[in-house]
């Protein structure tokens, strides 16, 4: 959609691991999209567009695991993708009894969850709902945290494209493009899931 708006004739896509991306390595790309939350630390290495989503960190567990309250959550073994804000979210908001395990990517972490090496993982809400929907009932969304986080596109530090990307994102939000993309790629359930997922009362 961005390429169309900017009337680009060619588009090259680079795949970069999340922790490298937020470390400032964009592999020469002009814009990066990976459900990235702009944080003060990341802003030192990248610049960010206006937010295109604001979603709560959401907990995914195996079927059969329940999170009734914070104490139950603290008893679980937690996992998160390396360098995501979820690592700190789990440590500070949930404060589990055991250290948080970090993973390089999503498949690795989900495999650990399904093989019972860990009990709970955290994603942004749309992705959490999509993962749960595609797991054929093996995984489920258990709770959302009461601290929604903005999600934005990243650009290389000093890029002159920020205003144009900002305008494009605002236009996509206003004309419903973001919502349509969310429904198409994550599923219609994700668009309104925030109202049905229980809230976990955290340490703050």
């Amino acid at each position: 959609m961005l390429a169309q708006r900017f009337e680009m004739h060619a588009l090259r896509i680079e795949i970069v691991k999340f922790h490298r991306l937020v470390g400032g390595n964009m592999a020469g790309a002009d814009v990066a999209l990976d459900l990235i939350t702009p944080t003060a630390e990341r802003k030192r290495k990248l610049q960010f567009s206006t937010a295109y989503l604001t979603d709560a960190p959401t907990v995914v567990v195996r079927r059969g695991t329940t999170i009734r309250d914070l104490a139950t959550a603290q008893d679980l073994r937690w996992g998160a993708i390396r360098a995501t804000t979820f690592v700190e979210d789990i440590q500070t908001l949930v404060d589990p009894d055991q250290p948080v395990r970090t993973f390089d990517d999503q498949p690795e972490m989900l495999a650990a969850l399904e093989s019972k090496q860990i009990d709970a993982v955290m994603f942004d809400l749309p992705l959490a709902v999509a993962i749960s929907d595609r797991s054929n009932g093996r995984l489920k969304v258990a709770a959302q945290l009461p601290t929604p986080e903005p999600i934005a596109a990243a650009l290389p530090k000093g890029s002159g494209n920020r205003q144009a990307v900002d305008s494009a994102i605002r236009a996509f939000i206003a004309d419903g493009t973001v919502d349509r993309l969310l429904r198409k790629w994550v599923g219609p359930a994700a668009a309104s899931a925030d109202k049905s997922i229980p809230l976990l009362h955290t340490t703050r």
Binding site: P38, T50, A51, T54, P148, E149, P150, Q163, A164, D166, S167, A168, I169, R170, A171, F172, I173, A174, D175, G176, R204
Partner: protein
Amino acid sequence: MSAGTPAPVLASISVKSPTGPAWEFLVLFLVVIVGPPLVRRFRGPGIIGLIIGGYAIGPYGLNLIGAGNTTVPELGQLGLLYLMFVAGVELDLALVRVHRRAVISFGLITFAFPMLFGSLIGASLSWSLPAALLLGALLSSHTLLLYPTVRQAGLSTDTGVATAVGATVLTDTAALVVLAAVSGSQLAGGSTGSIALQIVIGLVALSAFSLGLLPRLARLAFRYLGTDRVVRYLLAIASFLAAATFAESFGIEPIVGAFFAGLALNRLVPNEGPLMERIDFFGSAVFVPVFLVSVGMILDPSVMFEGETLKLAALFIAASVGGKVIASVLAHVFMGYSRPQATLMLGLTIPQAAATLAATVVGFNIGLFDQSVVNAVLVLILVSIVVGTLIVERSKGQVTVPAVPSQAIGKRILVAVEDPAQARMGFASGARIAAPDAGVVRGLLACSPVDAQAAGALLAELSAAGFAAGVDTEPRLMVHSSLAEGILNAAAGEHASLVLIAQHSAKTASALGTSGEAVAAATPVPVAIVLGTLARIGEVGLIETNSRSGPAAAAAAQLAAELAVRLGGPRVSTRYERDADWSTRLQPGQLCVAPATSWQLLAFSDPPPGSAAVIVLEPGAPWHRRGDALVGGA
């Protein structure tokens, strides 16, 4: 307790850094409190203090309210709707009616030139057509920020000022229609033809809803639910939110709906009435400042002082101010306004704030404008306010203050009663007479010093009678030994345009009738007596009587005719009555208006139950009691 105990206790106390809604609202309201006076100390406009304050606490400043915060921007959006609603409700539509030709001519030219220049600038910068048109629209509107200054100088009735004020209705409406079309074309999918059809249907539906249905619903709601002032205020809020929602459902920007709702409620919410006071209070205390702070939060200084931003700002200023200058020069050359008048009109129409900011924020939110444009518009707003202020300050002393400010008959109506039970008919008549002028109806309870003890309950009863007639009034108590003098003082103090003395029967309170004459004789304010009981004003007649010749009788007859039309609309029947006791022959359901040469002739002519009469007294009528000190010299 040992001396060493406090240290471990203190060590166990943890203080968190402030977060959460309470902290955010605190920061927000501190900016609202501190920002404007701080900037005013440096002779700057307060609005700039709010915008700079918004920047200071926002993501590009101290980041006290971060980029992910949704509360302040959402409250800001509500403030924007509120701002547009107030802009519509405050407009003096009576002025537009009186000077409609000049208003339309000046409105068109003061809109057209900046619109043209703005669109050309957009096109020359290779912007898309919608973005260029929206730029033209936002440069062509203006905000009457300096009208209070001009009004204080006694120039509100000057024809040039009235024309500039009236032209605001046209420029703002036209700008918002362009905004509706542009945003509709961006947000609605489909072909150009279907989008155009959607927008046209949307605007027609919105006009029908806002200007046709909404005032009727609001009038009914005010009458049946609005006996509580809080409910009346909430009904006003609900009205603009309903219109905004309605507009949005047709793909039109909600601010257009809010503005239309303001126009719709314009007559129901008089500018000097208690409801308008409340709307203004909450608007200026909370909603509008929060909107301006939320605008400041998107201000990015790293963009503001870029060459690109400053270049855009210079172009915008040239287009907007240049267009307004051409319009005022044309007004001087072709419309007969004097040079000082035209200069004052220029000063009034240069400042940009509400509609400009509203259109800019919408353009930004739908991705038509980037941050450079927003920042350039903020520079334009600042410059336009400063330039406008300088021009108005310089030119207001050069315009001759109109000798006798004329006041429309319905602008400020005083309903005077001795007994609240008599008031309903007075209020109902007052409301109808005031409606065409968007005037206010005020209640006045006259009582003797002896009866003043029970006045609290009587005032509440009078207020309830007002609500029952659809009038929101905070009635005043008038304790006076001479009723006539009391009413006279109140009429002068309130700058009344008409005094209505309401009573059920002339027989039971003939003294009031005599006082009515005394008042009529001694005050330049027209006086009428409302007699009788009538559940609902339906059939209205005008009675022509054997009036004496002379200017006083002619004035009373003319006023009676005017009041009859206002009370009954176009279906007023006129008949001639030779005898003074015509009112005794009224049929139930009838209301008749007549001029009277003497109250005493009518003193024993009560209308039958279920009918009413409005007797217009001759100004300066000589029939009065010699004992009344007020009307001495007979």
